[in-house]
Amino acid sequence: MTTAGFEQSSKGKPLWLLAELTYKCPLQCPYCSNPVEIAKYQDELTTEEWFRVMREAREMGATQLGFSGGEPLVRKDLEELIAEARRLGFYTNLITSGVGMDEDRIKAFKEAGLDHIQISFQASNEELNNYLAGTKSFNHKYEMARLVKKYEYPMVLNIVLHRKNIEQIDDIINMCNDLDADYVELASTQYYGWSRINIDQLLPTKEQLDNAWQVTQKYKEKYKDKMKLIYVIPDYYETRPKPCMNGWGSVFLTIVPDGTALPCHAAHQLPIEFPNVRDWTIEGLWNDSEGFNVFRGFDWMKEPCRSCPEKTKDFGGCRCQAYMLTGDARNADPVCDKSPYHAELHADVERINKLAKEQDPNKDEKPLMFRNMRNSKDIEKDAKKPHLETTE
């Protein structure tokens, strides 16, 4: 998800509501950003509970609403949720893999007032797409993308880039053009959730990224009147972090399937108790909960951020990355070269680069850990020694 085009509000209101309706998903992308513990989120919010969440967020000024997951199409009440969201005045975005969609539903969503559909592709060809998705889904997605345009929705196509597909960037962009996408989001995997487990196999090399960047620039120019290309480069090779979420608790509000509210969809991994909408109103949790206040402002910062003049620009980077890579979420994001952990991160990236180059492309490397409930339960059971199981 990008923050492109969103003006930062100084008042700090949850303008963007991301509703992760369910973690059920027919696909098994090994870079999925959902928590590794997806199997623990069975107690999903009801239709009525979502209605209340939407109403209260809207009253606070939320305008954008993303229905996401997992796969939101799994929810039978999706049509109802869309209709209510639209009635409340949200701009409604459906973020989907396209699996579970058909023409009748696309039509029903239109009648319910859905504004926009974003479909994710895993790759530009059937074989790789289906391998990465862990299911036969490419042709169906392709057909759904055509129908989305037929019903005159604005269409965003989203492709997560990583070492296995980044060299197809030309083909990927041309596929999006063939499908008449209005926007194309080329997102690099973020290394948390499932992609963290698979980082050795997924992190693109520096050469791959530089090449992808150049190719994207070329197409940006070429297709500029037709589709908008947004390429979010990963920050692992940078020396300054990104201003994560425009600042903690300043614009984004994510609600996960069991009603837990997060300032960022990756924050579940932090050792912080986050509020649940079953115990709080949206206004209450946004303004008063510990979880939403811990990293607001600058007082929580440690050095080097605390005395750094750039802190108002990047807010010290990503809290999740800081926690994951340094063990303390209050540290500077180690992407920053002022961080004492930067060298460690750099060395790890170097190690993976070397690994990628030495890898014989004809031999299979360590198998990918696919995202599914069984693997989730296994990891849970055996937290120290993850079971590497593929689903071929």
């Binding site: 492109a4 969103f6 000024g61 305008t63 954008q64 993303g66 975005n93 926009h116 604005p154």
Partner: protein, 92 residues
């Protein structure tokens, strides 16, 4: 077609939505995963873009409502900006 010409009938492009936002106290343009807040004068122009009124109609209506303002050039300029941003298009 020249989006600023008198006889052009502008309309909101299908991938955008114009809406009054009470919480922001302004008109906003909404599009996939994004929002732009409009200034009061931009809002006054945008809300008249309905696929029925021509540029000349919009100018004269605004002129009636704000008789002291020199607004003709501003309206044409705004049409150009809104068109460049993809918010509006000329109705065929």
């Amino acid at each position: 077609m020249d989006i600023t010409a008198d006889q052009t009938i502008p309309e909101i492009a299908p991938t955008f939505r114009l809406q009054w936002e009470k919480a922001q106290n302004c008109y906003v343009v909404l599009y996939p995963e994004g929002m732009v807040k409009l200034s009061p004068s931009a809002g006054e122009i945008m809300k008249r873009i309905d696929g029925a009124q021509s540029v000349a109609d919009i100018i004269s209506e605004l002129q009636q409502q704000f008789p002291d303002a020199e607004l003709e050039q501003d309206v044409r300029k705004f049409m150009e900006v809104a068109h460049d941003n993809g918010w509006i298009r000329a109705k065929q």
